[in-house]
Structures are given as structure tokens and as C-alpha cells.
Subunit: 286 residues, 2 copies
């Protein structure tokens, strides 16, 4: 995806948040912020690619602060918090065990910021609200059709916490007699899930775990490892979670490969691109 | 005041908001945003002055969109909304008619975003909460002492809506037998009050109204008119509302002139500079 005018403010908000998490050295934060704005000033224009700009910015913050994982505190607690809500989700999926309901559960995991929300009731309400809400774009029937034809499914993970809900969807997907490979980040970036985060909740029991070979936001195809690119090419079907993966896949020539994005349109630029309202959830073949 | 690392994100958030209010032409918004970021990239560094950068940015948006008052909708309704709460404020000031309580009322006017808050109960709760809360820095006794000595008081206004509450404080101040000149913006910028906004609520009945001669955020001394600079020099006492005025006065050589800032530390950089917590209110001689 290419940048929209709103993205600039969002980059700097993210930069401020990441800097606050990465270091308490205020003069260093100022120095890095100056550098980020200079770089943004040189590169933010019509046609610039969102993931490339965001990735460069977060790598810069990690490198200059010497903090390889500013979101480590969240990493330590998000999976744990998400797992507390497994019984609720399992109950909702028992009541309606359609593939679509599992897809909605996985998107619900993407909506909830397990790091920011502390109160149990907040999260419970959010889960119930989002499981009730209809999809604004619903290609779940197409996805099911492709699943029935597929042998190899590549699942692109997004955040920690969220992967607890992904595990349920992957278990459901395996009922279609497919092999699932879940791709995670090689190194921490934002609160994106890495292989150790997936191992922590036993995702290796339901999927083969791999990494994209780097720490990009979403997928930047030329930046991913050749091993990952081979997995991507060999996959019969790709299921991608979240905004970053959508933004990256939107930049790729996907040919005939069935690629489905499961996401909540959290920001206006993405909502505008896919033609839904901010806050809408979609299961969308791109 | 000089920029802090957090200011960059705040500038771009403001830019996005102002652009959304100023025009619906999305390619124009992108074009202007590119320009804003390029300028920010060239100028945002240690030592840059907050008001100068913010003013340049908002002037750029007004000029390039051809919209001289992006906040016009707010301008039309904020004074009206604020006036609905006058009886409540008047009652609170009857219960405690000390100068300090009037100062707190004026700061409460500064805290409330009458444009953003629609629900009557929200605003009522905010007023009651902020009138109960103590000042984190309280130089109101010093201010009273200076008032007793003064003949000419210059009152630097901030936002529309808020000026309804300022009127009550100015009436109180006039009990000290002083002449009050209220300075407003010559042209709209953000939701800052201009002379017509003040006339609308009869501020000319309690104060002489003047403008700073330009549309800067707060005061940028060299940018103000010579007429305003003369008024400033002749004032025995200056009372300044809000963050923008504090940020501008902080850049000036005030000599021995008693200048008091009435503000709520809405952002971390200002809170850090004056040594209070975000959200604290102060009556502070600077």
C-alpha cells in the first residue's frame, strides 16, 4: 500500500511511543526524532510504500537506542492475557462452529490490544461485541472453497496475544486436511509475534513454524528470506492477518494465488483503500 | 518554548486535523502534508521554537487550501455551548468568590474543548471536577498583590468558548480598579478567539479589545504588531491563557514585568518544562 496523507501523523505517533518504550534518555529521543523527521521529510510522498517507511523507522529506533525489543514488556504479558479469554472464545465457537465464526474469532484477536487493555471486563466486552458484528466484506465461502482444494496453507501472523486466537483458527483449518505453515518475524518489531512467542502457546503443535527471515512490518517481499519466498511461492493458499500484512501483500504481484486478508480496518487509509468504514472487519480475497 | 521530541507527532496530528477541516480534496491534503513534513524535516531540531513552527504550519494549511478559517464550524458553536454553562459557573463563584476561584474557572474554560464535547453531562462533570481540583502551582496571592498595584492589565486570550469564562474573571479583576485590555488574534488560527468572537459575548463591556496584529499561535513577539508591542510594554501586569501564550512568553525577555500564565498542562513537554504532571492546572508567574 502507498502512503495516504494521514500516515505521516501515525508514523510519528508510533515513533514517539516506540521511543518512550525503548529508552528513558530524553536527549537521545530528541536526536532520534530529529533523524526520523528528516528521513520522513525526504521520503514521504505520493507513491511511497507504507511498510518500507514504517520498517525503516522502527529499525532506526531499535538500532539507535540499542534496544532490540522496545515492546518486550508487552511481549511478556500479551499471550498470557489473551489465554485468559480462551474459555470464552471456545464457548462462542462451540455455539457456532462454522469456519466463518473461527475467522471472526481470529480477527477479534487482531482488534484487541492486549497490552493496552488491563481490565478483564473491557476485553470480554470487546470480544463479545466483535464476535456479534458482521463482516463488512465476507469472502469466507471462497476461502472455504480454496481450503478444500489446498494442500499447503501459509498463515502470516501479526501480533502477540492475537496468535492465541490464531491457534484456534489453525486447528479448524486443519480439519480440511491441509498442512499449515505459520510465518512469524525473525526479530522483534513493534508487538509482532516471533517464533518464541508462538512456541510459548504451543503453536508448533498445530502448524510448522517459520520466520519471514527479517523484522519488517508485514511483508516486504524483496526483504524477506529466500527460504520464506520459496514457502510463499509453494503455498496453495495464503491467509494473512492484520494491516501490515495487507499493506505488504497489496504491493506484490500475487498472480492467481488465492490470498485472503483477515483484518479490522483500524485506520482511515486502509478503510478507504478497501472501501469499508473504519472499525469494520473483513475476510477479503485480494 | 523550544520543541521537545513529542512535539513532532503533535504537529502532524494537528496538521491532519486542520487539513480534514479545511478541505475535502484528498490529493490536495497529500500535497500539503508532503510539504509540511519536508518543512518539518528541515527545521525540527533542538532549539527550534514551538510557536514559530506551529504558526508556519497552520498558515501554510490556510494558504494552500484557500480556507482562511478551517475551524469555522467550531467558531460558530463554541461560545454558545460555553454560555450554556454560565449559570453553573456563576453558582460555583457565588459559593466561593475568591480571586483564586475565578482564576480556576478561567483555567477550566481552557481545559474544556467545547467543539469536541457534545454531551451536556460531559462538560458539566468536567467543570465540577476541575473546579474542585487544586492548582499544582498557585501564585494567585502574588497575582492579587500585583493587581492591587496595577493600573493597566493586558489579558491574552486563547480559545473561543473559553473566553466566556474569561469574561467572568475580567469582571472580577476590575474590582481591583484596573483597566483591562484583552488581546485576541487578528485572523483565525486554530480555534483561537478573534475580536468578533469576543464581541459576540459582550467582552467589550468589560475590557478594551485589541488584536495582536497577526494570526500566530500564542505570541511571537517580533511577529506581533507595533501597536500590540506598545500595549505589552505599557501593561503593568500581563495575564496569559493557555499553552500557546505560555510557549511564546517563555521565549521573551520579560524583565521585571509581572506575567502570570493560567493554564492546564495538557501535554508532556509543557508539564515537563514547568515541573508539574500532565493534566495539572497552574497559576504561575513566569
Amino acid at each position: 500500500m502507498k502512503v495516504h496523507y494521514e500516515c505521516a501523523a501515525c508514523y510519528l505517533r508510533q515513533a514517539r511511543e516506540a521511543l518512550d518504550l525503548a529508552t528513558s534518555d530524553e536527549s537521545l529521543k530528541m536526536e532520534i526524532m530529529e533523524d526520523i523527521i528528516r528521513t520522513l521529510g525526504e521520503n514521504f510522498r505520493n507513491g511511497a510504500v507504507t511498510n518500507q517507511m514504517g520498517t525503516a523507522m522502527h529499525r532506526n529506533i531499535k538500532k539507535k537506542t540499542g534496544n532490540r525489543d522496545p515492546y518486550q514488556d508487552q511481549r511478556e504479558k500479551c499471550n498470557q492475557i489473551a489465554q485468559q479469554f480462551l474459555p470464552l472464545i471456545v464457548k462462542l465457537l462451540e455455539d457456532d462452529n462454522s469456519l466463518k465464526n473461527y475467522l471472526k474469532a481470529a480477527i477479534t484477536g487482531n482488534i484487541i490490544d492486549f497490552g493496552a487493555l488491563g481490565l478483564e471486563t473491557d476485553i470480554k466486552d470487546l470480544i463479545l461485541k466483535n464476535m456479534q458484528k458482521d463482516l463488512a466484506i465476507d469472502h469466507s465461502a471462497q476461502l472455504e472453497k480454496e481450503l478444500k482444494k489446498a494442500q499447503n496453507v501459509l498463515y502470516l501472523a501479526d501480533n502477540i496475544g492475537e496468535i492465541v486466537f490464531d491457534k484456534l483458527l489453525i486447528e479448524k483449518i486443519k480439519e480440511y486436511q491441509v498442512k499449515v505453515i505459520m510465518a512469524l518475524k525473525e526479530e522483534p518489531i513493534l508487538n509482532d509475534a516471533c517464533i518464541p512467542d508462538a512456541l510459548e502457546i504451543g503453536l508448533d503443535e498445530v502448524a510448522e513454524l517459520t520466520s519471514i527471515g527479517t523484522d519488517s512490518i508485514g511483508i516486504i517481499y524483496y526483504d524477506a528470506s529466500s527460504q520464506f519466498r520459496e514457502i510463499f511461492q509453494n503455498a496453495d493458499l495464503v491467509i494473512a492477518k492484520g494491516l501490515g500484512n495487507y499493506e505488504g501483500l497489496d504491493e506484490m504481484d500475487l498472480g492467481e494465488k488465492p490470498v485472503f486478508c483477515l483484518l479490522n480496518a483500524k485506520c482511515k487509509p486502509v478503510a478507504r483503500e478497501i472501501g469499508v468504514k473504519t472499525g469494520d472487519s473483513v475476510v477479503m480475497r485480494i
